[in-house]
């Protein structure tokens, strides 16, 4: 169980919601809608799917919020619901089983001369073209990760959950989170670096 309880603003909003405030419900949505939507988009790759994930997440959240005992942060609880929604959506689409990523292929070999080049992200808005090309490459790379690795990568590196928090959200061991995260990062590093070399990013 997580030691950290939900934060003070969420705590107040949850109490107001339980007392019948619709405004409190709207404020909770405003606080998390972009994060949940981004997570849905990164997991499913389509705007419509991301919208479905957001709807299912908040609908279920408010259905059960009266029983939420705040033993964990509201954000973690919402992501747990969103994760279940993503897994359910994937099952409905009858996707292929997850491909395992083997570590062996990434370990440097004797006489290896593979150079990994990862481009820099430009903070200059006038680099719009470059930024949009790069964003496409990154989004494609994340989409090509198998589902179970993508879940861990999004929770840990995109949403910033700790190893323990990600393990709690996914209901897996911390060791599994670490193993999957490492493989996901190596996979993405290779994929992005290859696109860069092949000129998909100028």
């Amino acid at each position: 169980m997580n030691e950290t309880a939900t934060d003070p603003v969420d705590h107040r909003l949850i109490s107001e919601f339980k007392a019948g405030s619709m405004e409190a419900m709207e404020k909770i949505v405003e606080r998390y809608e972009d994060r949940i939507f981004t997570f849905g988009l990164k997991m499913c790759g389509h705007l419509q799917d991301a919208e479905d994930i957001a709807q299912e997440t908040f609908l279920n959240a408010f259905k059960y919020l009266k029983d939420f005992r705040e033993e964990t942060k509201l954000k973690n609880w919402l992501f747990k619901i969103a994760t279940t929604a993503c897994i359910r959506k994937r099952r409905k689409k009858k996707c292929e089983p997850d491909q395992e990523i083997s570590l062996e292929s990434f370990v440097p070999q004797n006489g290896d001369d593979v150079k990994y080049e990862i481009p820099d992200w430009s903070d200059d808005p006038s680099d719009n073209m470059l930024r949009s090309e790069l964003k496409d490459v990154i989004d494609d790379a994340i989409q090509s990760l198998s589902h179970k690795y993508r879940l861990v990568f999004n929770l840990r590196d995109i949403e910033g959950f700790s190893t323990q928090e990600a393990a709690d959200i996914l209901g897996i061991s911390t060791q599994s989170v670490k193993t999957r995260l490492h493989r996901a990062r190596l996979f993405l590093r290779e994929k992005i670096s290859m696109s860069y070399k092949e000129g998909a990013i100028q």
């Binding site: 019948g20 619709m22 419900m25 709207e26 949505v29 809608e33 972009d34 939507f37 981004t38 988009l41 990164k42 705007l47 991301a50 919208e51 957001a54 709807q55 908040f58 609908l59 408010f62 570590l103 062996e104 990434f106 370990v107 440097p108 070999q109 004797n110 290896d112 990994y116 080049e117 990862i118 481009p119 820099d120 992200w121 790069l134 964003k135 990154i138 989004d139 994340i142 990568f153 590196d157 995109i158 190893t163 670490k178 995260l181 490492h182 990062r185 190596l186 993405l188 590093r189 992005i192 670096s193």
Partner: protein, 82 residues
């Protein structure tokens, strides 16, 4: 495959995330001194994460947001008038 690489290579993410004990970190740093590949792996992996994070600030489109809010308001009203 280099045997000495394999052991440390498996732990490079944990090293990057600061999840290893000090003595293991020192062991890995000793390995870095004679292994440019593992050293570079940590650096490029770090850059990969930063890059992925930089493009992950999506906003829910306003029409999708409207649909979400109106659906939730309807549910709320239904539950509070029953």
């Amino acid at each position: 495959m280099r045997e000495d690489c394999k052991k440390d290579f498996e732990r490079l993410s944990e090293y990057l995330d600061g999840e290893l004990d000090d003595d293991v970190c020192r062991e890995i740093e000793r390995h870095f001194r004679h292994c440019p590949e593992c050293r570079e792996c940590v650096a490029t992996m770090k850059k990969t994460i930063q890059l992925c994070k930089a493009v992950a600030n999506e906003k829910i489109p306003s029409d999708a947001r409207e649909r979400l809010m109106s659906m939730l308001r309807q549910c709320f009203s239904r539950n509070h008038t029953e």
